[in-house]
Symmetry: C2
Subunit: 116 residues, 2 copies
Amino acid sequence: MQCNNFEQAYKKEMRAVQDSMDVLYGKWKISIISSICYYNKRRFSDILGDIDGISNKMLSKELKELEINQLIKRTVLDTQPVTVQYELTAHGKSLQTIINNLTDWGIKHRKVITGK
Amino acid sequence: MQCNNFEQAYKKEMRAVQDSMDVLYGKWKISIISSICYYNKRRFSDILGDIDGISNKMLSKELKELEINQLIKRTVLDTQPVTVQYELTAHGKSLQTIINNLTDWGIKHRKVITGK
DNA sequence: CTGAATCCTCTGCGATACTG
DNA sequence: CAGTATCGCAGAGGATTCAG
Protein backbone atom coordinates (compact mmCIF):
# COMPACT_ATOMS: atom_id res chain seq x y z
CA MET A 1 0.00 0.00 0.00
CA GLN A 2 2.73 2.36 1.03
CA CYS A 3 4.63 0.99 -1.85
CA ASN A 4 1.80 1.53 -4.28
CA ASN A 5 1.41 5.14 -3.30
CA PHE A 6 5.08 5.59 -3.75
CA GLU A 7 4.95 4.01 -7.18
CA GLN A 8 2.04 6.14 -8.24
CA ALA A 9 3.57 9.37 -7.06
CA TYR A 10 6.71 8.41 -8.91
CA LYS A 11 4.87 7.76 -12.16
CA LYS A 12 3.01 11.01 -11.83
CA GLU A 13 6.14 13.01 -11.32
CA MET A 14 7.80 11.30 -14.22
CA ARG A 15 4.95 12.32 -16.47
CA ALA A 16 5.13 15.90 -15.27
CA VAL A 17 8.83 16.11 -16.01
CA GLN A 18 8.22 14.68 -19.44
CA ASP A 19 5.50 17.27 -20.07
CA SER A 20 8.02 19.98 -19.36
CA MET A 21 10.68 18.47 -21.52
CA ASP A 22 8.26 18.04 -24.42
CA VAL A 23 7.76 21.77 -24.43
CA LEU A 24 11.42 22.63 -24.00
CA TYR A 25 12.66 20.03 -26.45
CA GLY A 26 14.11 21.29 -29.69
CA LYS A 27 17.59 22.49 -30.39
CA TRP A 28 16.83 26.19 -29.97
CA LYS A 29 13.79 26.48 -27.70
CA ILE A 30 15.63 27.56 -24.59
CA SER A 31 17.82 29.97 -26.49
CA ILE A 32 14.77 31.57 -28.04
CA ILE A 33 13.03 31.95 -24.73
CA SER A 34 16.17 33.36 -23.18
CA SER A 35 16.57 35.88 -25.95
CA ILE A 36 13.02 37.16 -25.70
CA CYS A 37 13.25 37.15 -21.94
CA TYR A 38 16.37 39.28 -21.88
CA TYR A 39 15.05 41.90 -24.20
CA ASN A 40 11.44 41.68 -23.09
CA LYS A 41 10.10 42.34 -26.58
CA ARG A 42 11.98 41.10 -29.60
CA ARG A 43 11.46 40.95 -33.35
CA PHE A 44 11.99 37.99 -35.64
CA SER A 45 15.15 39.29 -37.26
CA ASP A 46 16.55 40.33 -33.89
CA ILE A 47 16.22 36.84 -32.48
CA LEU A 48 17.70 35.50 -35.68
CA GLY A 49 20.74 37.63 -34.93
CA ASP A 50 20.86 36.80 -31.24
CA ILE A 51 21.19 33.09 -31.70
CA ASP A 52 24.29 31.86 -33.40
CA GLY A 53 23.70 29.30 -36.12
CA ILE A 54 19.93 29.20 -36.21
CA SER A 55 18.15 29.26 -39.58
CA ASN A 56 14.98 31.18 -40.27
CA LYS A 57 13.18 27.93 -40.87
CA MET A 58 13.96 26.57 -37.45
CA LEU A 59 13.29 29.88 -35.74
CA SER A 60 9.93 30.08 -37.40
CA LYS A 61 9.08 26.51 -36.53
CA GLU A 62 10.07 26.66 -32.91
CA LEU A 63 8.46 30.04 -32.36
CA LYS A 64 5.24 28.53 -33.62
CA GLU A 65 5.50 25.63 -31.22
CA LEU A 66 6.20 27.97 -28.33
CA GLU A 67 3.18 30.00 -29.29
CA ILE A 68 0.99 26.92 -29.38
CA ASN A 69 2.19 26.07 -25.91
CA GLN A 70 1.27 29.57 -24.85
CA LEU A 71 4.74 30.52 -23.76
CA ILE A 72 5.05 33.47 -26.08
CA LYS A 73 2.74 36.02 -27.63
CA ARG A 74 3.04 37.07 -31.26
CA THR A 75 2.07 40.57 -32.33
CA VAL A 76 2.06 41.83 -35.89
CA LEU A 77 2.96 45.51 -35.99
CA ASP A 78 1.35 47.71 -38.59
CA THR A 79 4.56 49.00 -40.10
CA GLN A 80 5.91 49.07 -43.62
CA PRO A 81 7.19 46.49 -44.19
CA VAL A 82 5.49 44.37 -41.60
CA THR A 83 7.42 43.54 -38.42
CA VAL A 84 6.47 41.03 -35.80
CA GLN A 85 7.08 41.27 -32.11
CA TYR A 86 7.41 38.39 -29.70
CA GLU A 87 7.12 38.54 -25.95
CA LEU A 88 6.74 36.07 -23.13
CA THR A 89 3.35 35.35 -21.64
CA ALA A 90 2.97 35.12 -17.89
CA HIS A 91 3.22 31.41 -18.27
CA GLY A 92 6.39 31.77 -20.29
CA LYS A 93 7.89 34.02 -17.68
CA SER A 94 7.32 31.36 -15.06
CA LEU A 95 10.13 29.45 -16.76
CA GLN A 96 12.61 32.01 -15.46
CA THR A 97 13.41 29.99 -12.37
CA ILE A 98 14.20 26.92 -14.40
CA ILE A 99 16.35 28.82 -16.84
CA ASN A 100 18.26 30.41 -14.00
CA ASN A 101 18.80 27.03 -12.44
CA LEU A 102 20.01 25.62 -15.72
CA THR A 103 22.39 28.53 -16.08
CA ASP A 104 23.87 28.01 -12.64
CA TRP A 105 24.13 24.29 -13.09
CA GLY A 106 25.74 24.72 -16.50
CA ILE A 107 28.47 26.88 -15.05
CA LYS A 108 29.09 24.39 -12.28
CA HIS A 109 29.06 21.50 -14.69
CA ARG A 110 31.70 23.08 -16.87
CA LYS A 111 33.97 23.32 -13.85
CA VAL A 112 33.40 19.70 -12.94
CA ILE A 113 34.12 18.44 -16.44
CA THR A 114 37.08 20.61 -17.30
CA GLY A 115 38.64 19.52 -14.03
CA LYS A 116 37.78 22.18 -11.49
CA MET B 1 29.97 50.05 -22.30
CA GLN B 2 27.03 49.24 -20.17
CA CYS B 3 25.58 47.68 -23.23
CA ASN B 4 28.68 45.64 -23.95
CA ASN B 5 28.78 44.20 -20.49
CA PHE B 6 25.16 43.34 -20.81
CA GLU B 7 25.76 41.64 -24.12
CA GLN B 8 28.67 39.66 -22.76
CA ALA B 9 26.83 38.51 -19.69
CA TYR B 10 24.00 37.46 -21.92
CA LYS B 11 26.22 35.40 -24.21
CA LYS B 12 27.85 33.77 -21.24
CA GLU B 13 24.57 32.76 -19.69
CA MET B 14 23.34 31.45 -23.00
CA ARG B 15 26.35 29.20 -23.26
CA ALA B 16 25.84 27.96 -19.73
CA VAL B 17 22.23 27.03 -20.42
CA GLN B 18 23.30 25.23 -23.57
CA ASP B 19 25.92 23.30 -21.63
CA SER B 20 23.20 22.05 -19.33
CA MET B 21 20.90 21.14 -22.14
CA ASP B 22 23.63 19.25 -23.97
CA VAL B 23 23.96 16.98 -20.98
CA LEU B 24 20.23 16.58 -20.43
CA TYR B 25 19.37 16.17 -24.09
CA GLY B 26 18.24 12.76 -25.22
CA LYS B 27 14.81 11.29 -25.04
CA TRP B 28 15.37 9.37 -21.83
CA LYS B 29 18.11 11.17 -19.90
CA ILE B 30 15.87 12.83 -17.37
CA SER B 31 13.79 9.72 -16.87
CA ILE B 32 16.90 7.69 -16.23
CA ILE B 33 18.25 10.17 -13.72
CA SER B 34 14.88 10.32 -12.00
CA SER B 35 14.68 6.58 -11.76
CA ILE B 36 18.11 6.18 -10.22
CA CYS B 37 17.45 9.12 -7.94
CA TYR B 38 14.22 7.67 -6.58
CA TYR B 39 15.70 4.31 -5.80
CA ASN B 40 19.18 5.54 -4.90
CA LYS B 41 20.85 2.47 -6.36
CA ARG B 42 19.39 0.75 -9.38
CA ARG B 43 20.35 -2.06 -11.70
CA PHE B 44 20.25 -2.06 -15.51
CA SER B 45 17.23 -4.30 -15.83
CA ASP B 46 15.40 -2.40 -13.10
CA ILE B 47 15.73 0.88 -14.94
CA LEU B 48 14.67 -0.88 -18.10
CA GLY B 49 11.48 -1.81 -16.30
CA ASP B 50 10.98 1.60 -14.70
CA ILE B 51 10.87 3.51 -17.93
CA ASP B 52 8.04 2.77 -20.27
CA GLY B 53 9.07 2.26 -23.88
CA ILE B 54 12.82 2.46 -23.59
CA SER B 55 14.95 -0.12 -25.39
CA ASN B 56 18.07 -1.71 -23.98
CA LYS B 57 20.10 -0.09 -26.72
CA MET B 58 19.02 3.41 -25.79
CA LEU B 59 19.33 2.76 -22.09
CA SER B 60 22.86 1.54 -22.58
CA LYS B 61 23.77 4.47 -24.76
CA GLU B 62 22.36 7.18 -22.55
CA LEU B 63 23.74 5.62 -19.39
CA LYS B 64 27.15 5.74 -21.00
CA GLU B 65 26.76 9.40 -21.84
CA LEU B 66 25.61 10.21 -18.33
CA GLU B 67 28.62 8.38 -16.96
CA ILE B 68 30.96 10.34 -19.22
CA ASN B 69 29.44 13.53 -17.91
CA GLN B 70 30.04 12.25 -14.39
CA LEU B 71 26.41 12.32 -13.37
CA ILE B 72 26.25 8.65 -12.48
CA LYS B 73 28.59 6.01 -11.17
CA ARG B 74 28.66 2.51 -12.58
CA THR B 75 29.60 -0.42 -10.40
CA VAL B 76 29.96 -4.00 -11.55
CA LEU B 77 28.92 -6.39 -8.80
CA ASP B 78 30.73 -9.68 -8.47
CA THR B 79 27.66 -11.86 -8.69
CA GLN B 80 26.70 -14.76 -10.89
CA PRO B 81 25.58 -13.73 -13.42
CA VAL B 82 27.08 -10.29 -13.36
CA THR B 83 24.88 -7.40 -12.28
CA VAL B 84 25.62 -3.73 -12.61
CA GLN B 85 24.57 -1.00 -10.26
CA TYR B 86 24.09 2.63 -11.07
CA GLU B 87 23.93 5.50 -8.65
CA LEU B 88 24.10 9.27 -8.84
CA THR B 89 27.32 11.08 -8.13
CA ALA B 90 27.28 14.20 -5.95
CA HIS B 91 27.26 16.17 -9.15
CA GLY B 92 24.33 14.17 -10.46
CA LYS B 93 22.43 14.73 -7.25
CA SER B 94 22.81 18.46 -7.69
CA LEU B 95 20.32 18.15 -10.54
CA GLN B 96 17.57 17.46 -8.02
CA THR B 97 16.53 21.09 -7.81
CA ILE B 98 16.15 21.35 -11.55
CA ILE B 99 14.19 18.15 -11.79
CA ASN B 100 11.88 19.28 -9.03
CA ASN B 101 11.35 22.59 -10.78
CA LEU B 102 10.61 20.81 -14.01
CA THR B 103 8.12 18.59 -12.23
CA ASP B 104 6.29 21.54 -10.71
CA TRP B 105 6.30 23.46 -13.93
CA GLY B 106 5.06 20.43 -15.85
CA ILE B 107 2.05 20.10 -13.58
CA LYS B 108 1.28 23.78 -13.93
CA HIS B 109 1.76 23.67 -17.66
CA ARG B 110 -0.71 20.84 -18.05
CA LYS B 111 -3.32 22.93 -16.27
CA VAL B 112 -2.64 25.92 -18.50
CA ILE B 113 -2.89 23.93 -21.70
CA THR B 114 -5.86 21.75 -20.88
CA GLY B 115 -7.68 24.95 -19.98
CA LYS B 116 -7.40 25.42 -16.23
C1' DC C 1 10.73 41.96 -43.03
C1' DT C 2 8.56 37.61 -41.91
C1' DG C 3 7.91 33.76 -42.98
C1' DA C 4 6.47 29.28 -46.22
C1' DA C 5 8.06 25.92 -49.54
C1' DT C 6 11.42 22.74 -51.41
C1' DC C 7 15.20 19.73 -51.35
C1' DC C 8 18.48 17.01 -49.21
C1' DT C 9 21.42 15.05 -45.58
C1' DC C 10 22.28 13.04 -41.31
C1' DT C 11 21.19 10.92 -37.01
C1' DG C 12 18.10 9.67 -33.24
C1' DC C 13 15.85 5.96 -32.10
C1' DG C 14 13.18 1.55 -32.44
C1' DA C 15 13.21 -3.66 -33.41
C1' DT C 16 15.58 -7.59 -33.38
C1' DA C 17 19.23 -10.77 -32.79
C1' DC C 18 23.61 -12.08 -30.82
C1' DT C 19 27.70 -12.48 -27.10
C1' DG C 20 30.27 -13.07 -22.52
C1' DC D 1 22.13 -10.08 -16.73
C1' DA D 2 24.21 -6.43 -19.24
C1' DG D 3 25.21 -5.08 -22.89
C1' DT D 4 26.89 -4.93 -28.49
C1' DA D 5 25.82 -5.35 -33.52
C1' DT D 6 22.99 -4.61 -37.46
C1' DC D 7 19.25 -2.81 -40.06
C1' DG D 8 16.00 0.57 -41.22
C1' DC D 9 13.10 4.48 -41.15
C1' DA D 10 11.01 9.01 -39.79
C1' DG D 11 11.94 13.16 -38.69
C1' DA D 12 15.28 16.90 -37.30
C1' DG D 13 17.52 20.35 -39.16
C1' DG D 14 20.61 23.00 -42.86
C1' DA D 15 20.75 25.77 -47.38
C1' DT D 16 18.36 28.07 -50.59
C1' DT D 17 14.58 30.06 -52.92
C1' DC D 18 9.97 32.13 -53.21
C1' DA D 19 5.91 35.16 -51.64
C1' DG D 20 2.94 38.75 -49.26
